[in-house]
């Protein structure tokens, strides 16, 4: 089961990287969303995938037994999902505003902060 999940995570990562390499900001945004999911699945898988097992741990050895999924990664991705969700919401608004204000979604044409053909610094005093 874990092997298939890892392959899926790999696919997610490659899709995310591919989308990130695009010039269009909307694709980068979709890449960011997929990247977040890829990481969450990665952490989820790292905590073992098992059937339902009662959460009972014998006294003595610390740590969860092999037959049981570790619950902490699931708590971690809960936090990570919340964060990546709020991030995505913010980036969505930002992308939308960018498209409206700058009238382009092509990063090559977004040169407002760093305009082309800037003046050279003064070469003499």
């Amino acid at each position: 089961m874990e092997t298939y999940m890892i392959l899926l995570v790999g696919v997610f990562f490659s899709v995310a990287v591919y989308l990130f390499l695009s010039r269009h900001i909307i694709r980068i945004l979709l890449g960011a969303a997929i990247l977040g999911n890829a990481v969450n699945l990665l952490i989820f898988t790292s905590g073992r995938l098992t059937r339902e097992v009662p959460p009972i741990i014998a006294t003595g050895p610390t740590g969860t037994p092999e037959t049981m999924a570790n619950p902490l990664p699931q708590a971690l991705i809960l936090t990570a999902i919340v964060i990546s969700f709020s991030f995505f919401a913010f980036l969505l608004v930002l992308t939308y505003r960018t498209y409206q204000e700058l009238d382009t979604d092509d990063t090559d044409e977004m040169r407002f902060a760093e305009p082309r053909g800037q003046q050279m610094p003064p070469l003499e005093y």
């Binding site: 919401a89 913010f90 969505l92 608004v93 939308y96 409206q100």
Partner: protein, 139 residues
């Protein structure tokens, strides 16, 4: 999206979803649910109302600015974490009290208030994002 059917249904749908979000919030301690998911349900309720009737009716209906609601939630969550200073316990310790209401004893905890704080933060923040997106698409 302002068809007659949708416009007629939206207020009922919104009120039902807000009610359900409170239910989800309060059952969240021992069962699936909680502040975050409840807040998301409430925020989507406002978003639906906004889609049907426009943004300004939503703003009038919730009266406070969404970010103000988020700020209130943050204050509530922080103070419920700070309450443990009076009990010589570390920050964010869950403190429990039992309030007798009629025949029953209702357990009340700082954890509950923290979760209510989270609810308000999520409602405020996500509603403000959703309204910002809807507002722009109209003009």
């Amino acid at each position: 999206m302002n068809t007659l059917i949708f416009r007629t249904i939206a207020p009922y749908l919104t009120s039902l979803m807000v009610l359900f979000s409170v239910f989800v919030l309060l059952r969240g301690h021992n069962e699936p649910g909680g502040g975050f998911i409840g807040g998301l349900i409430a925020a989507s309720a406002f978003a639906i109302y906004g889609i049907a009737w426009g943004v300004s009716p939503v703003r009038r209906a919730i009266y406070f600015h969404p970010l103000g609601i988020a700020g209130f939630g943050l204050v509530l969550a922080t103070f419920s974490g700070m309450l443990s200073i009076f009990f010589h316990a570390p920050f964010m310790t869950g403190l429990w009290g039992y309030v007798p209401i009629f025949e029953d004893e209702i357990p009340v905890s700082t954890v509950l208030f923290f979760d209510i704080g989270v609810y308000f933060v999520v409602v405020g923040a996500i509603t403000s994002v959703a309204l910002a997106l809807e507002e722009r698409s109209r003009d």
